[in-house]
Symmetry: C2
Subunit: 113 residues, 2 copies
């Protein structure tokens, strides 16, 4: 057997740094593909392909305006994400209560990379 599907869920879509960059650019509002290409330094096909992935997952939506295609962030789709994270908030807080431990831990861990 091999790898499981992959790019088909929000988690994987967001896992790619380039795609996060695109989402970041779209925070300010609707943008055409060309505008994104200019903002970031990526080839146009790349941007289009990444937009496709983001689109398939619903993280962005698209609207035609003349010969341009305006892509727009769909923040609602980040919800699964948010919900998943919140399940860990409690564990997080439990640790945070013991501030000393937390600080010691940060020190001990350092930056794993």
């Amino acid at each position: 057997m091999a790898r499981s599907p992959a790019t088909s869920d929000v988690f994987n879509a967001v896992a790619e740094a380039r795609r996060r960059e695109i989402l970041d650019v779209l925070i300010t509002g609707e943008k055409a593909v060309g505008a994104i290409v200019d903002d970031l330094s990526m080839s146009q096909p790349q941007v289009s392909k990444h937009l496709r992935v983001l689109s398939e997952v619903g993280l962005v939506s698209c609207r035609a305006e003349g010969r341009h295609r305006l892509y727009r962030l769909e923040p609602a789709r980040l919800r699964p994400f948010h919900e998943w994270l919140s399940r860990y908030e409690q564990a997080w807080n439990d640790r945070m209560d013991r501030v000393d431990d937390y600080l010691i831990e940060l020190q001990r861990q350092g930056d794993p990379q």
Copy 2:
């Protein structure tokens, strides 16, 4: 050229469903590898490998107890995640304000998968 590194950051570590399952299991507290193997239905080597990835990113820590190795969640490492998400909260809220639009949108979008 080819794909960029990958498994080396929190986003990618969490992108894999199996790894999320492991994290879920660890929410309740420290567990040995064998216990995780039992809880989920994964082979022991798989679990060990995924734990390695999670460990390299700092999402779990490990402590030896006899011949067992107890893995523990490190929720603090989810912070980058949380911060990234919060950048989108505003965009999210802006949309939520217009409740009608939101509902219509949910309807229009359906579930992309």
